[in-house]
Amino acid sequence: MKKDTMYGFLFLRTSKLNIRLAFMLLLCVASTMRANYEIDTGYIPEDGTIQDWTVSGTVLDDSGQPLPGVNIVEKGTTNGTQTNFDGDFSLIVSDKNATLSISYIGFLTQEVALNGQTTINISLAADAAQLDEIVVIGYGSSNIKETTGAVANVKVDDIRQSATTSVDQMLQGRVSGLNLGLSSAQPGARVSANIRADVSPNGSGEPLYVIDGVPMINDSPEPSINDSDIGFAGGVDRSPLATINPADIETVDVIKDASTAAIYGSAAANGVIFITTKKGKAGKTTVDYRITTSVQSPKDYLEFLDAENFMRQHNRLAYDKYLFDNKFAPYGAQNAPTIGFTPLFSQNDINGAGKGTDYLDELIKTGFIQEHNLSISSGNENTRIYSSFNYYDNDGLLKGSDFQRYTARFNLTQKLREKIDLSVKINLSQVNSSNASTGENSGGSEKFNMLQAAYAFAPNISPTEADGSFTRSYDRLITNPLAFLEIDDDLRTNRFSITPKLDIDLLDNLSLTMVGSMDRTTSTRKFFMPSIVENAQLPDGVAQLATNRNDAYTGEAYFTYNKSFENSSLSVVLGAGVYKTLFDGFSLQAVGFFTDALGVNNVGVANQLLRNSQNSFKSETTKLSQFARVNYTINRKYIFSGVVRRDGASNFAENNKWGVFPGISAAWRISEEDFLADTKVSDLKIRMGYGEVGNVVLADNAFQLYGISGQFTFGNKVQPGVVLSQVANPDLTWETNASIDLGIDFGFFDDRISGSLELYQKTARDLIDFDPLPSNNAVGRVVTNIGSTRARGIDIALNTTNVLIDDFEWSTNFTFTTSRSEWLKRNPNVPLPEYVGENDQLGDFYGWETDGIIKSLEEVPNYMAGAFPGNIKYIDQNDDGILDVKDVIKLGTRGARVNFGVGTNFRYKNFTLSAFAYGNAGAPRDFGYYPDKQINILAPSNTLTSVKDVWSFDNPNGILPGFASNPYAGNNPVNDRVNTDFLLKKISFLRIKNINLGYDLPIAEDSKIPFNRLRFFVDLQNVALFTNYDGFDPELDTTNPYPQAFTSTLGVNIQF
């Protein structure tokens, strides 16, 4: 830049200026600068001679649409013009045999010799290389063939998947190295994303999402239910991306390696996902309208006993308990007397019971989704607009749950002056949802959520009494499952974001970009449980109100300098940014309503004042950054890239306020070498890179804090307590992930076969961990940086065009990912149990090996003296006659060994058919759902049909543990949910996620139909699942999950 401008640049640092003021100044300077441009924009012909030779014509694209704004230049001169809105142009040229150079961004430049013609019509061909292969890499973009990093690009329109609330749900299996975990099948539920292997045991594995250049807050502001009294949290964990209409998204770019991601520094440890929304296209206004209707039918859920079998199983197990309590055979030597046990249910009761009420059936229904999507694209050479409206309404599978979304988007690109472009992107969305309680809960049967109540409620008791009130089960603490439908639990989430961006061409090679953004999400939850629910703990009703707000403000400015030399080109980006995030919120609970009539709308009447509660919180983070990237390309063959970012943040510890994150990478495009010039190799590139990125976890733990903890009552006054809750560590710093990436991109036969193979190694150092303080200190831990982990993996992507003839196209794509993460260095202050190896894998878990069920007293092993038939038999690995820590073995490694995705697309004439499947292999899981053994003899609850597999006196081949509690279970030194290999196996699955069949109605040019395009389609989601897992769903790892649905969609797409 110095060379170009003849002026030096000075870099200054000062510590006392207010950054906000600085930004205002900057914007002022920028706006005054526009005035300076007028001087340079006039065009003065180089010579005065004007000849009278006019040529005119029209420029069209390959589909026959007129192209406005196309540059037409008489070759060898600066004489030129642009096409108008209808693609027409007229130009006076100096020679009737002149050659015109016709160029337009995104299209191949064409040269036309006039040869005396006065009228020419030109059809421009799209530049495939430019249209298809531009990837976003942060503060700019790059041709994918010339990138040096591991970047994958997904065009959202190519994923033909309907009835999806957020774009992340569409990406599973689409990008090698991007693994998504589905936590719930609830409408709008979050998927947890993970790019390449996880190396941070305490940190988040979530990538940074950047929407239209602006980093997004990844935390959903949706308040959860305060479960301390109610018991269930309501099971909502929505994706913040659910507030963005997937149809508005043009591309998703995934940056997997640190050498490229380092430009996002301390936020980029887990990679970066760029989401780019659509822009208006110059040319004729197109209106796109899509309507879809979907039906969701429930997949098989867990099976529970009907009334008759519930009573039979209860009597059977109650008798088993009687035998056990009195130590009769098989639990003791003596046989039970013939009388002495009276079953709760008589034979008459059982015979007359029938099926009873299937409470789960009462709560699950067919779901419906209706979606309307309207988008308008319009523009000319100066102004381009994309605007869309979306309405998405999902009446959920579980009664009481629904999800409605309204989004509106307005994207404007405006040429303000010759060299100044403004773009403004505005997104408005509102999500209204009602929630059915699923998932985990905190407590006993009085705290069951809706699904748990449906599992446990006795099926032989009908739902309502004669007077219409809800019945109670034998366990009177369980809320009637149907009473849950009387609960109102409504969430409203509003999001508003505006992203103005100014591009200024300062010099031929130098431009300045300024981006600002405000992104605010506010979410309000209103929960009311009326007294007719007859909840055992809150019989007089309870209301909860909560509002949370997430605010993000972003200001960035960067210079881009591009310069081409004879055989090389240089590109430099240099910029800075300021980021502020703010979270705040409040919540309240009100207990005791004399009437149900007011609901949440007047919580002031709640009369159990001491059970009412209020909470509020606020936190704020400021980050300042500077970043730079240099790209240098020689002969389009040898490409070098370096990035660096310097981040300073308020939530970093006192002695480590600033960090520097570098990345360097290089690529060699072998296919550009002469020796591959005339071969079938259309693309071949080797690339490698090294980068360091940060993971800011537990950063707020650097200060000494006194926390509000515990309360106590004197007289009738409840008072809050304060304890020392955290000791300071001013030296705390972020985790650093250093990664080495090696990749090969290839294409053969004109890229009919293309793909990439990537190898990587990620090393995390300065892992954030809790360093234990002596147990007799007031605070038992301090957050420090200790330890190191490493991951290695392989990502493969392969795309093939199998058939490409006039009427028929068939292509497939395939992704494959595998990785392994292991410990390099542990925290020496945390003693390792003896069964854990210093360098074990990150997800390793341990426990006792088992050998089925003990079937008789004789089978009780010596080392399990006192155990009973029906207990699990553990294996004494070292044969020392004692079951202890020495018998613990490694049981497996959490997570799948291999993830893969397969997609295929067919086009025959006007028909398209696409199908997509994904899966994983080798994830160890146990059976997961054990039936309740109904030990509560006085108050039995319903349970899974698998209770028939429970070992008992009359079921000596039962595979599930019997009634007798195992005296050795508590001695297992491993304190995890899974600490034995009982019913543990390696799970693999293949899910056919999506099949989409479409038909484009042929519309002749002269047709009377006023549409350009009319497309009908059928879309099936969650079509089939192939797995060796016996539980409910191998992907869902939550208890009591929201049921999965098979969704079939009919849709019409109209374009005019």
């Binding site: 640049f9 200026l17 009177r476 800075a576 509020s616 007031a778």
Partner: protein
Amino acid sequence: MKNKLKNKLVLVSLCSFFMLFISCEDELESKVFSELTAENFFETEKDFNAALVALYSSFSTDWGTEDPGVGIWYTYLYNANNRTYLMRSELTTDELWNDWDADLLNFTWGPATYSGTGASTYSRIRYVARATDVIDKIEKSSVDELIKNRYLAEAKTLRAWLMYILYDFFGPLNVKVDPKTLSDRAITPRLSDEDYVGIIEQDLLDAINTDGLPEAYNGTGNWGRVSKGLSRMVLLKLYMHKKEWAKAEAIGKSIINSGLYSLTEKYEDVFTNSGNNELIYSIVSNDAVPNWYMQHLFPGNFAKGFAGKTSIERGGGWYGFSMPWEFYDKFESGDLRTNTIISEFTSGGGALVDRDNGLRGAIPLKYTNIVGEGPSYSIDWVIYRYSDVLLSVAEAINEQRGPSDAYLYVNEVRDRADVDAWSGLTQDEFREAILDERGRELFAEGHRRQDLIRHGKFIEKAKERGATSADSKHILFPIPSEVIIEGKGVINQNPDY
């Protein structure tokens, strides 16, 4: 012209960079909004009160809370969860039974059994350090002298009480009572029994000798705060524990002679009337900090039953704890204290359920003033009361010089229960009898374990109940294994674990 333009452009560029590359350290200062920091805490009298409240909260009847200093959820000491000090003091004895924890039932616990959230009682060792911090900060503060002395006496009594509870379960520990060592990272060994007990004794004596600490708070708005009565009572418990009979008798008699306390007319009134004069200390419960004990008792299908003449109507509970019929049968017929126990009930279906028909044990309700379905109640939990003082003094006298002048104290208690007065017992007979008398008088109040241990019957009784693994080592609970591992040989485990 072009040069001029370039001039301007470069100026603009320079400006931009100047603006963007500044490092505003002010902006990067950390901000804490929802918690307190060293800069804004421990300044006023109200701050010290809040720090004291946190020490008090250890004794709450509510469930528990996550200790923010370690990120583990622990139960409070007097909650009805079977992990608490209160319930383990009962569930390991003949007075109470549940099947939620086979290790407690069978005496099969070991160092690894109660770790994490299961180590709730042990976790109070952190609160001893916090109490030391509070004591140090109060001593150094400039708050009003009267308040200062009272708060110091409260903090010392709470520290001593926490230390006694730890001592009861684990023996002497390596508690931090020196403020200079509070943030040391060095592992320190367990104190000697003599030193440890000496610290408890001194803290309590300091409190008792503090002029500003009131004798009692019964019936006042400060009910629930530490008074001299509580300081003396904890000291009595310590002396009984150590079998220092003469000291026990003296401190017990000082409570009796204070004239502030007396037995209520009816036994059940002790538990239903908040702040009555039989109470030396109870934990105040209300809707915000409720009492969950009763909910643990009722069978799931409970609808109606009688405690004495008091009709109890409510829905089912969690059916966690039962009084074994063998213990119930220790009550002499006509003992009015059984008016607080339910021995049969009517189920939701209308059937009568009793000991011959599925009820596995009596329901030791104790608190007969429950109203409504629960699950929690605003009923104060009785910790220490006058009849315990009378029985302790009687026991201490008998141990020193036989039952002669002990009858006076024990018969005052028996008289209220409307059972015959004792006389003519040998020292051994008296000793045997007073153990059971304490069981009948103080059941469900958390004293049984220590009473059995003091009388050397803790293990014997466990074996009688079928806990074949019971061994003398079980008199103390083990130090949690993670503490031993952390100690790297400096912290000794209790014998035989």
